[in-house]
């Protein structure tokens, strides 16, 4: 896709840093909630084909729990916080003392708790990003879905769909100290947001 061919290595590094800062703050928030250390992997910034978008969370048919926020403001985009079913259960147990008995169905209370966790984490991701870039970003109310990863993530591709068959994905994976809880942050900025992010961080191609 032509739009992204001109991205230089240092610009990709900047996007990596964007993922790092956002997820770093979110991981800190999670660590405080859990009262446990949380490790974070170096973010991956990749141009992915639509087909491959779900690969890092286990493929298109893998059932996951996702909290989705649409980011509005100067740099619109889509933010997903994705947990495996197993991790969601452990989070619920560790955090609010809810034992999930039924794998298939989550009660209203469980969904509500997950929503709130997602909200806190995604909120800290975004607000740190907004501070860092001095750009105005406003998240929509988060929305939770438990479904196939492909069905969920394709939602974040619609803005890219009009431009081509690839999307730029900033993927940050984190694990708690005992590697019990594994989660992913997917930030998919809209195509027109990149110039603003780069300009704000002083790597625009002016």
């Amino acid at each position: 896709m032509e739009l992204f061919h001109r991205f230089a290595d240092f610009q990709m590094d900047v996007l990596k840093e964007v993922g790092n800062i956002g997820a770093g703050h979110a991981a800190t928030a999670l660590s405080k909630l859990l009262d446990k250390p949380v490790d974070m992997l170096v973010p991956k910034v990749r141009m992915v084909e639509f087909e491959e978008i779900a690969d890092s969370v286990g493929g298109a048919e893998q059932v996951v729990i996702a909290i989705f926020l649409r980011v509005e403001g100067e740099t619109p985009g889509n933010l997903f916080f994705i947990l495996t079913l197993d991790s969601a259960k452990k989070l619920l147990r560790n955090l609010v003392g809810i034992e999930v008995v039924d794998d298939e169905h989550y009660s209203e209370m469980e969904i509500s708790a997950l929503n709130e966790i997602g909200n806190i984490l995604a909120g800290s991701y975004l607000s740190s990003l907004a501070d860092f870039t001095q750009l105005y970003m406003s998240p929509t109310v988060p929305s939770l879905a438990m479904d196939m990863a492909g069905a969920i993530l394709s939602y974040g591709l619609l803005q890219f769909g009009q431009m081509g068959d690839h999307a730029l994905l900033i993927d940050t994976k984190f694990l708690d100290g005992n590697e019990e809880v594994e989660g992913h942050f997917f930030l998919i900025p809209d195509p027109e947001s990149f110039d603003k992010i780069f300009a704000a961080l002083g790597v625009g191609d002016a």
Partner: protein, 164 residues
Amino acid sequence: MIQDQYIKVGMADLNVAHLTGVLKTTGLGSCVGLTLYDSKAKVAGMAHVMLPNSEIAREGSLNIAKYADTAIPELVRRMESLGAFVRRMEAKMAGGAQMFAFAGNSDTMRIGPRNVESCKDMLERYGIPLRAEDTGGSYGRTVEFDCDNGILLIRSVQQGVKEL
């Protein structure tokens, strides 16, 4: 069903099969999986439609499988080249869900229903009857379309398996 008989249809992709084979597309959310079938010629086609209308396209080289208004004509054309006739074709579709519920009702959020509407418009234009559909809702679907008998199998996390 033997695994290697699957013919994969990716996101914003289309494919056809003749006599045997199972067309499969995974993880339909707001996208629509549309199938056409000519039972006499045993020609099946499936498109994984992502967006309703190619007018909004801003890409250099248009991926015609992505948009409802361009994918269906292409699917018909490719099936006809395998011996199918458009007047014998019957359609089925699944998908077009609204994965996330938001208070706002912007166009992007309604993309699922709009994909479904656009597919129906195109079918009408070709005079292809829609035999069955499993659209809407707020859940993802994986669909398999058997070229041998024209049965559309729909799997979803919450609703289990459904046959159309």
